[in-house]
Every structure is written in structure tokens, then in C-alpha cells.
Point group: C2
Chain length 734, copies 2
């Protein structure tokens, strides 16, 4: 049955081919009226300028990072601590640096191509909206799916490729050692994701807040008015944050969690080898195979994105999601059965594979649960958003207080769901009864890994829905800019609202996967530390003892890091917005023709200034994220780092939940009032241009940097902590 | 040298006598004009009504709590797990219930008496302000000191008393067992503190927000206008939150931390007994003696509260604080030398006592550091508050974003300071070289306990400064209400501003002490668990392993609890404020004479309604706080509870820091603008009634429930988690 592993490159290549097919399909669509083309070109130029500058900077940072990592690893991975002693020092340093670069390159490639298609789908979606809702949904979803497939396929192919090369080509490396050698890939992905998400998040919200303040507040012109030189930067920003940023975030998730799961698979591999089960290496390949099935399921689901013109577009997208989920259940059953049946049955008479199948189901179910939790907390149909809208009656202060209370409240069901998922998958895994030579049941941890993989099966689809967001948001902007007829704008508005929901869902999904990943990567870190300790004859790390003063202080620092990092990210938005305000003001002053439409604002200059400012402002939070775990590790040691990692993850996940859901709820409370759902004492709707609406706008503006900058950056922070400590573990052991 | 322990009751009784002397002194002062007396009486009546209803409710809850605790302990403390096997079951249940009741009663008594004096000092301070700034400072500070001394003295006498009774009177109890038997005292104090702080916090901010909304926003009359029926409730609220609430908070701190330190002292006692050092029991009494010295130092400092009329009143208070601190250093030196010199010298030639003296100094220094950190983040003279004021130029949204960034940022220096204090005191303590029979160095943990005690030495002074806050705030209200001359109001305004600072400082102090306490109480919990395990022959809890899935999930739940509890507390404020709005509206409607001053609003009714609503709304968060650790303990076991406790503490401390300092900074950003410090482009001050000021008012209103309800309640939550798990430990071991 080792043939099944060939599904990994096969599914990866099929997904890439399918992405190219979708891209071709999108590109072949008409681009609408000349006005639409003109607006689309402006956005595209702005995005190209951003991509060029942003990824040049990130590429340089990644090169520097690779050299530093290579040198450090070459120095610390001496023969007594190296995963493969014969490769100690230089060779392992070079291999780690290469893995880092490949991970960084794959992440960047998927980000760049995703952006490329996203900023070309927007105008085509707007054009399609002139004819049909369903067609517009299809164009936007296919454009989004290009990102989704590329991100997941490149991460799958990348991990599989580097694993295969290191294992097959470098003679000394066994299949059980290779997972440890490719952690650099995950770190490279994390590194790119940190800067892509931070830079993108700062850019998008600075453009949003900056252009609103200078346009709406100062110049008194409407939102998205073409006379405002900052508006294009705002439209570019949507792609930058939600497409490139979230893409990098989930690229990192799939890559890092995959490698973590493979490392945990090594423990089962050892048991399988000792027991003489055929093809023990399948336990290491298992995570990759599961994800390959997920990719195939998503491809099929793309053909179910159809419906009637009168249908709620969210239903059309949900249909595809459920197809993906149900097919994934099948894929999970096939892969667990085919790859694990060799392990026989447990003492209670049930086959081993069945327990892991159930653990995988827990992961899939968790992903569904999070999709619905996020809907409950951020959609106008439920209590939380209504409560905030009601509080807006008494002004901005009560709106903010109420939104904060809602944001805080969302941690409850989040923590409980994650807790249940972890305990359930751990219990199911441990029921498989896989005991190693020391009598330790390794099935529990592997069960959580299988759950994480189950959750990630739907990743490509979720990501397609996410990128659907900026595409439809942009399509709305294009329709507005090109003064399309009201019928078209009605459709783009509906799609825009759906896009807001899908963007929020993706954040919920990203958070849940980050939490499950935490436990998995943390366990991988302990495995790595113990591998080093075994080589060196040191004491094994059997427990991360919170009662140890160093671990406790590191845990405190980890929890603080989430706040401090968010503080820097939020402040960066303010500073960057300031640059935009200064420039737009200058254009209003020096180009008086702008106000009567006789002069065209210099959109590109604002994009360029915003890009530069965002890149400059991402340095401080980026450095804090990278340096803190290293400093704590050097000062307090490897056990303390584990404390930092675990509690930092808990704090980061919860704070991100608060920021994402609070921000989403504020956003939709504003929309709730705008749609006339809030009534005065006579039952008449309180709409726009009322005090309650103004209060809700304050909440929405406050929520913007929370949900689009700090929150998503925290996802990345959490995983970066995991990969950086995994790669640099030898540095912390003395 | 066992004579030194007599300083404990002596200092306690002297402090009580001194408090009575101060109370007599305050009461003998003149109460000013008949108008002042009238206002003072109204506040006093409102406060009396609140105290009566609030403490009746709490007393009933405490009675129920005592019975439940007694029964549970009687059931679970069977002979094989009991601290004193011969007292297993019923007797130990009764003893725990009695300790619980004594703790609850002492806490309630100090709260009630403190309130009694506080609401009588306000009018006398206002009266004194007609003559002299210094005299007004003295009256307010002496009134505040009554609370300060009573809280600390009653907690000292209570712990000492119940310890002495249990050890001396109950024959079977040895000095090493008694500390474990009095944990009920700490739990009783926590229990009262939870409801006093929650109820008080909800009351004070609901009254504030509710009366502002209905008066300023709806009726268009100024803040603190006597026509607003909610204004008296607001003035009462200041006493309720800052005097009764914070008093209960710090009563709990001193009590619980003391008992925790005594439990840790048992480990050293065992070493001392084995080594044959004279009077080994002194190690258990040490924490009490240190605090007795702190009390005496504070008494002396009260005589240094003097200065000139032109001096900044904060200077006068700071002078007393420094006298307390310096005398405490002396007291610390005396007590460590006298009580620990028997331990001889360490391998490096330094005496053992010197290391612990240094550890105590770390605690004292931490208290000073926190006083200055809080000033930096919440006073208008520094960057953070200015930044928020600047952000107010562009409206409420940027004000909120900036304040949130500042709040988040404050966690950095907080976490680093606590981390340094813990590691330094642990290292100093471990240098003392106290190894137990198993070769474990117990000095480190005891070092952190000594540091905590060092920090608590200045508690009475800090608490006096805290209660100074509501007294001067009320004095300002009295001056306003009684339409005093501008000279008087100028003085009360200055004192009010100082009071805001001292209230903020106290919260910083309370947070720092809660953090140090966490580690200490957590260690006491482990000691308690291991005592039970030893009796039962179970496996000792040597590590709280975060890598265990149950511990990790419990940690996640602990961190979530901080958010969820705050969410409930914040929402409770909103609901209670609603009741006030409804009632004040009714009065405006049904008593038309109010607006032209011909009818007197029914202040008492608003007070009563607010009290009842606040008591009702505190039930949900209170229950969550009490039930969560019990449920987690029953489901996931005793190791998981330790994870919940530690990570819950970290999360609670950091979130409280964010809420307290963010709220304080918003408050002072508003004051910064009101004082004309924010300038327009021509250099003219932007004062009241501008858009920037309106934006700053939004921030201030948002910050109110953060800094006065949720933040302070989190301090209590953190310590409640510790005491509840300590008392119920046997329940979680199966």
C-alpha cells in the first residue's frame, strides 16, 4: 500500500493544474465597461507596486534569515546534538537554510500568484454582476480558489518535495530522521507569513482609516469617492490583507502543522517497525496523504458552486463547503483504513485505524463548529450584534463597552470547543493502544495530530471563500467608481456582505487550527529536545513544569507578548495612517482640480507611500516576535521556552479571538443599523446619518485594526513561536 | 527570641487603637456649613443603605458558603488525606467552616467600619478645605488611614488569632499543621472580597454611567448637578468601590498571602527542627512578624503627613510613603536578623538571614516600581496619556484605538518587573542553601514568600492613600453641591486629582501583590496536595506538566475565565445602569419641580434600586468564578487545577493591568484636555466643549467599567482561584 503516498504529489500537481485552469477561466471573462477597466487597472497597478516592494523586502529579509539560521544551526548542531550526527555542523546548517528558503519561496509564490489573480478577478466579478448573481459568485469564487489551491498545493508539494529529497537523495538520512530536518521549511513559511500578514494588515487598515479620516471627516466627501487619493490604496489593501496575508497565514498553518504531525508520526513509526507491521513509514506520510485527499475533495466541490439567482449567495458557498466536508470524511476513512489497518485491532476489538478515523472526524467537526461560532458572534441575525446595535442608541461609549463585552465573551465557547476537541482526539488516539518501548502511550498525541490534519482537509476551500472577500469587496468598489447601474451595485453589495462573513469565518478557522497546532507543535518541540538530549546523554524533558519559577516567568512573558505585539501592531496602523493623511491633504491642497473632477488624484503615490510606511512599521512588532523567544530561551533555558510557547499560544489565541470577533461584531452592528434593523420608539428604522449610526461607525473604526491587523497577526505570531523554537531548540540546551 | 512573636498581636492592637484615635480625631472636626452637612447626610444615608443591604447579602452568602465548605471538607478530609488525621471528617470540617466565617467576618468588619469613617470624612475634608490645603489633606488621609489600619490589623489579628487558637487550644495540632488548617480564613476573605468588589464595582460604575447618561446626555444638565437623582448614588459609589471594594481586595491579599507564606514556612521549619536550630517555629511566624513591623512603620509615617500650603499635595502623601518604605526596610532587617540568625551562615560565608533580607528588599522595591509604572502610564505628564489626548483630535475612534494600544503596552513592563522580582527573590532565597531531607532546596520558594511579605509591609499606607481617593472625590462633590466659594472648590479639585492618582497606584500595587502571591499560593497548593498524597501513599505532584493535555486544556480555560468573567462584569454595569436611567427618568417625569429646584429628587430610592440591581447582577460573574475551578477540578483532576490556577493568574493579572491602566490613561487624557494642555495649530488650548474633548469623554466613559469594575474584580478572581483550590484540594484528588 505504499503506492498511496503517490497521491501526495499527484493531488498537489492536479490542484496546481486545476488552479491554472481556474485562472485561465477567470482571465477569459470580459472586463466590463471601459470605466470598469480603468478602475481595475488602477487597483491592479497599485497592487503590483505593493507586491513588488513588499515581496522584495520580504525576500531580502528571508535571505538574511536563511544565512543567520544556517550559521546558527551549523554552530549549535554539533555531532552530539544533531538529528543525523554524520551531517552535524555545516551540512545540517545548509540543509536547514535551504529548507527555510524553499518554505519562504513557496509561501511567497502562492501569495504573489494569488494576488495576481485576485486583482484581476475583481473587475471581472463586477462585470459579471451586470448580468447575473450566480455568475458573479462563480467568478469571485474561482478567483479566490486559485489562491486556495495554490497555497495548499504548494505547501503540500513543498513539504513532500523537501522531505523526499532529504530522505532519498542524502544517503545517511532515514525516513525517521527526515521530519526533523525539514522544520526549516515551516520556519521559512512562518517567517514570510509574519511579515506578509503584519505588513499587509498594517497596510490595509492604515489605508482604510487614513483615507476615511482625510476624506469623510476632513474633506466631507463620501467613502470610496474617486476624488480621494487614498481610496485606491484602500481597495488594494483589501487584497493585501485578506488574500496575501491570510494566504501566508494558512500556508504556514498547513506547512508547520504538517511537519509537526510527521514528527509525531515518527514515534508511531518506531512502534510499527519494532512490531514488524508492513510499511511503517506510512505513519510518517499519513498527514500528507490526508491533506492530499482534502485537496481532491475541494476540487470536486468547486463544481457544486451553482444555484439560482434568488438564492442567498452564502447558501451557494455553504453548499460547496458541505461537499468538501462530506468528501473529506470519505477521504479520511480511506486514508486511515488503507494506511493504518496494518496495526490490527485494539484490546477492545475495534481496529486501530477506526480510532484515528474518529480523531480525524473530531478535527473536521471542530472546523464546522468554528464556522458556526463565528457566524453567531458576528452576524446580525443573533444576539451579540443586536446587543451592540442597541447599545449604539446611547452613543459611542456604550457601543464600545458592549462590543468589548461581546469580544471577551467569545473566548468562552472558543476555549471550550478547543478543549473538547483536544481532549476528545487525545482520548480517541490513546484508545488505539500504541505503546512505545518505554510503555508510553503515544497514540493520544498522534490522535490530536490526526484531528489537526482532519481540520486542515478543508483548508483550500476555506481559503477560496476568504479570498472571495476582497474580490467582491473590490468588485463593489469598481462598480461604485465606474458609476454602474443600481442593479449591478445591488448584486455587488450583496456579495460584499457575504464576503465579510466569509472573511470572518476564515479567521475563526485559522484560530482553531492554530490552537490545535499549538499542542501538536509543542509536542514536536519536546520530541526534538529529547532527541538532542538522548544524543547528548542529558536528562529527558518529561514535563514542562509550571511550578518552576523560570517556566512560570517565561509563561508570563509569553502571555504578555500577545498584548505587547498587538499594541505595536495597532500603533503601527495609526502611524502609517498618518502618512496617508499628510499625502492626501497635500494633493487636495496642491491639485485644486481634484474636487471638481477636472484633475485625477495621484493614486499610485499614495499606494507607494503607504507601502513604504507599512513596511517600515512592521519591523518593530516583527522583531519583538522573533527576538523574544530567543532571548527567553538563552536566558531561561529550553524548558522555559516550552512554557513561553504554550502559554503564549493560549494567550495569543484568546486575544486574537477577542479582537477578530469583537471587530467583526462591531462591523456588522454598523451594517445592521444601516440596513434599517434598529427601530425607534415608533417602529421606524434608525438608519444612516443618525447618532446611533455615528456611534456604530466609531465601533466599526475601532474594530478595523483589531480584526484586520492585530488579530490575524496574532495567528502568525503563535505559529512563529512554535517553529522558531523548534528550529532553534539546540540553542537553548546547555 | 520567641518573644518577638508577641509583636504580632501587639502591633495589631496598637494599629486598631491608632485607627480608633484617628477616627475620633476625624469625627471631632467641624462639618462645615449647614449646606455641607445636608449633602454629607444624604451621601451617608445612601452609603448606610448600601452597606446594610450589601453586607446582609454577603453575610448570608458567607453563611451558606461556610456550611457548604464545612460539609464538603467533612466528607472529603477523611483520615487518609486529612492534615491532622485525628481530626478527620467532622472536626476538620467544622474548623474550616469556622476559619471561613472568621475570615469573612473580619473582612466585612473592616469594610463596614472603613465605609463608616469614609462617608464621614468627606464632609469634614470639604470643610477643612475652606481653611487650608494641608488640613484637608490631613483629614482625608486620616479618614483613609482608618480603613488602611483596620484592614491590615484585622487580617493580621485574624490570622494570628485563629492560628494560635487552633494550635494552642486543639491539643493534637502541631505548629507545622496549623497553617494548613487556617486556609479557610483566606477563603472566607476571598469570598467576601469577590462579592464586595464585584457588587461595589458594578454599583459604582453603573451609578456613574447611568446618572451621566440620563443627566448630561438626556436632560442636558451638568455632571454632578443636584437635580439629577442619580448623583448621590454616584457619590456613594465612589466609597463603595474604592473604600469597601479595594479594602476587601487587600484584606484578602494580606490574609491569603500570609497563610500561603506560613505554609511554605513549614518546609523550612522541618529543616530547622531536624538541624536542631532553636525555635524552629519562628520560620512559620516570620510572615506575621514582618507585617507587624510594616504596620508599626505606617503608624510612624502618619506623623509625617504635613507640608506647606503651596506644596503639591501628592508630595505630602509621597513623603509618608517613603517614610513607611524606609522604616519597613529597618523592620525587615530586624525581623530577618532576629528570627533567622539561628540558621547560621551559608557555604559562601554570608549569614542565611541576609539572603532573605535581600529577598524582602526585592518585594519592597517591586512595590515602589509599580507605584512609578502606574504613574508613568496614567499621569498626564508622560507620553502615553499625551498620545491618547493627541489621538482625540481625530475623534472617539482614534482615542479608543490609542487607549487600547496603551493598555496593551502596559503589560510589557508589568510582566518584566514581576518576572525579575520572582526570579531575583527565588535566586536570593535559594542562595540561603536550605535543603530538605530529599535534597530539595526550599529556600527559593521561601524567598518569593519573603518578597511578597516585604511588598505587603506598606499595605496599610497604600490603602490609606486609596481611601483618600473617594473621600476627596466626595469632598469635591460636597463642595459642588453646597455651592461653596471658589477657593474651597479649587482645593477640593486639586485633592480630587491627587486622589485619582492614588487610586490608580493602589490598583498597580494590588496587581503586583496578586502576581507575587500567585506563585506563593500555587506552591502552597502543591504542598497541600503532597501532604494529602503522602498521607494516602499516592504519587507526589512534582511537576505541573503543561504538556499533559488535561493541564493544557485547564490552562486554556483559566485564561479564558479572565475574559469571560470580565465580560459578565462589564455587562452587569450596563444592565444596572439601565435600572438607574429608568428611575431617574421617572423622577424627572413625575416630579416636575425637580428641574426648577422646587422639588428635591428622591436620592435614596435611586441608591436603593442601584444597590439591589448591583447585587442581582453580581451573581452571574460570582458564580462563574466559584464554580469554574471546582468543575475543572472534578473533571480533570488536581494537576489540571494547578494549570488553571497558574495560567488563570497570568491571564487575570495581565488583563487587569490592561483594563486598569487603559482606563486610568483615558481618564487622565480627558483631564489633560480639560486642563488646556492640548493646543490647536495656533497654540491656543483646546479645552472643554470641543470635539477633541467629546472624544476624550467617550474614552473616559469606556474606561470606567474597565478600571473600576472588571479590572479590580480580576484581582479578586485571581486570589479566589488560589484560595478555593487550596481549600478544596482533597476534592480533586481521586
Amino acid at each position: 500500500m505504499e503506492l498511496i503516498t503517490w497521491i501526495i504529489p499527484a493531488a498537489g500537481l492536479i490542484a496546481v493544474a486545476f488552479a491554472l485552469y481556474l485562472a485561465r477561466d477567470v482571465m477569459s471573462r470580459d472586463t466590463g465597461t471601459p470605466e470598469m477597466v480603468a478602475v481595475g487597472d488602477t487597483i491592479r497597478e497599485g497592487a503590483d507596486a505593493f507586491v513588488k516592494r513588499q515581496y522584495t523586502t520580504i525576500a531580502m529579509l528571508a535571505l538574511v534569515g536563511a544565512v543567520v539560521i544556517g550559521v546558527v544551526i551549523a554552530l549549535v548542531e554539533t555531532a552530539d546534538v544533531a538529528d543525523v550526527p554524520s551531517l552535524a555542523g555545516g551540512p545540517i546548517g545548509i540543509m536547514t537554510a535551504i529548507a527555510f528558503l524553499v518554505g519562504a519561496a513557496c509561501s511567497m509564490a502562492s501569495g504573489i500568484i494569488g494576488m495576481f489573480i485576485s486583482v484581476r478577478s475583481n473587475v471581472r466579478t463586477a462585470s459579471a454582476a451586470r448580468r447575473s448573481l450566480v455568475e458573479a459568485v462563480q467568478v469571485a469564487m474561482r478567483g479566490g480558489a486559485v489562491s486556495g489551491f495554490l497555497v495548499v498545493a504548494l505547501s503540500l508539494l513543498g513539504v513532500w518535495g523537501i522531505f523526499t529529497v532529504y530522505e532519498a537523495v542524502v544517503g545517511e538520512v532515514t525516513v525517521a530522521q527526515a521530519p526533523f530536518l525539514i522544520v526549516g521549511f515551516g520556519f521559512g513559511a512562518s517567517f514570510v507569513a509574519l511579515f506578509a500578514q503584519l505588513g499587509g494588515g498594517i497596510y490595509t487598515k492604515a489605508a482604510d482609516v487614513g483615507s476615511d479620516l482625510v476624506g469623510k471627516v476632513e474633506a466631507g466627501i463620501p467613502e470610496d469617492d474617486p476624488r480621494n487619493a487614498g481610496v485606491v490604496a484602500d481597495l488594494v489593501g483589501d487584497n493585501v490583507g485578506d488574500c496575501a496575508g491570510r494566504g501566508a497565514d494558512l500556508f504556514e498553518s498547513t506547512a508547520a502543522e504538517n511537519i509537526g504531525a510527521m514528527i509525531l508520526g515518527v514515534a508511531v513509526f518506531t512502534i510499527a517497525s519494532t512490531a514488524g507491521w508492513p510499511h511503517p513509514e506510512l505513519w510518517i506520510f499519513f498527514p500528507l496523504v490526508v491533506r492530499a485527499f482534502g485537496l481532491l475533495a475541494t476540487i470536486v466541490a468547486m463544481f457544486f458552486i451553482r444555484g439560482s439567482e434568488t438564492e442567498d449567495p452564502m447558501n451557494i458557498l455553504n453548499r460547496g463547503y458541505w461537499v468538501t466536508t462530506i468528501l473529506s470524511v470519505g477521504g479520511l476513512a480511506i486514508s486511515t483504513y488503507l494506511m493504518m489497518d496494518t496495526a490490527g485491532t485494539t484490546a477492545n476489538g475495534l481496529p486501530v485505524w477506526l480510532w484515528f478515523f474518529f480523531a480525524g472526524l473530531v478535527g473536521l467537526a471542530t472546523s464546522v463548529v468554528f464556522v458556526y461560532i463565528t457566524q453567531y458572534y458576528t452576524a446580525g441575525t443573533y444576539r451579540p450584534v443586536r446587543e451592540i446595535a442597541e447599545a449604539s442608541r446611547t452613543g459611542p461609549a456604550t457601543n464600545i463597552i458592549s462590543g468589548t463585552a461581546v469580544g471577551f465573551e467569545t473566548t468562552f465557547v472558543t476555549a471550550i470547543s478547543i478543549g473538547v476537541a483536544l481532549i476528545a482526539s487525545h482520548w480517541l488516539g490513546s484508545m488505539a493502544g500504541l505503546e512505545n518501548a518505554e510503555g508510553v502511550n503515544v497514540g493520544g498525541i498522534f490522535g490530536t495530530a490526526v484531528a489537526t490534519m482532519g481540520m486542515l482537509m478543508t483548508c483550500a476551500y476555506i481559503l477560496a471563500m476568504d479570498t472571495f472577500g476582497p474580490i467582491t469587496d473590490n468588485a463593489g468598489g469598481v462598480a461604485e467608481f465606474s458609476r454602474s447601474e443600481s442593479h449591478t451595485r445591488e448584486i455587488t453589495d450583496r456579495l460584499d456582505a457575504v464576503g465579510n462573513t466569509t472573511k470572518a469565518l476564515t479567521k475563526g478557522y485559522a484560530i482553531a487550527s492554530a490552537s490545535l497546532a499549538a499542542f501538536l507543535l509543542f509536542s514536536a518541540y519536546i520530541d526534538k529536545v529529547n532527541l538532542i538530549q538522548t544524543n547528548r546523554g542529558g536528562e529527558l524533558l518529561t514535563a514542562v513544569n509550571l511550578a518552576d519559577v523560570g517556566v512560570f516567568v517565561a509563561a508570563l512573558i509569553g502571555a504578555m507578548l500577545a498584548y505587547f505585539f498587538s499594541s505595536l501592531a495597532i500603533r503601527a496602523v495609526g502611524k502609517t495612517a498618518q502618512s496617508i493623511i499628510v499625502e492626501v491633504r497635500r494633493q487636495f491642497r496642491e491639485m485644486p482640480g481634484i474636487m471638481d473632477y477636472s484633475q485625477r488624484p495621484d493614486y499610485a503615490r499614495v499606494v507607494d507611500i503607504t507601502t513604504r510606511a507599512a513596511l517600515r512599521e512592521m519591523v518593530a512588532p516583527g522583531l519583538v516576535a522573533v527576538v523574544t523567544p530567543i532571548v527567553v530561551g538563552l536566558l531561561l533555558g529550553y524548558q522555559a521556552v516550552a512554557g513561553l510557547l504554550m502559554v503564549g499560544t493560549i494567550a495569543g489565541v484568546l486575544l486574537a479571538t477577542v479582537l477578530n470577533n469583537g471587530g467583526g461584531a462591531w462591523d456588522n452592528a454598523k451594517k445592521y443599523i444601516e440596513s434599517g434593523n434598529l427601530k425607534d420608539e415608533h417602529g421606524n428604522p434608525i438608519g444612516k446619518k443618525t447618532d446611533a449610526h455615528a456611534a456604530a461607525v466609531v465601533g466599526d473604526t475601532v474594530g478595523d485594526p483589531f480584526k484586520d491587523t492585530a488579530g490575524p497577526s496574532l495567528h502568525v505570531l503563535v505559529k512563529l513561536l512554535a517553529t522558531i523554537t523548534l528550529v532553534l531548540a539546540p540553542l537553548f540546551i546547555r
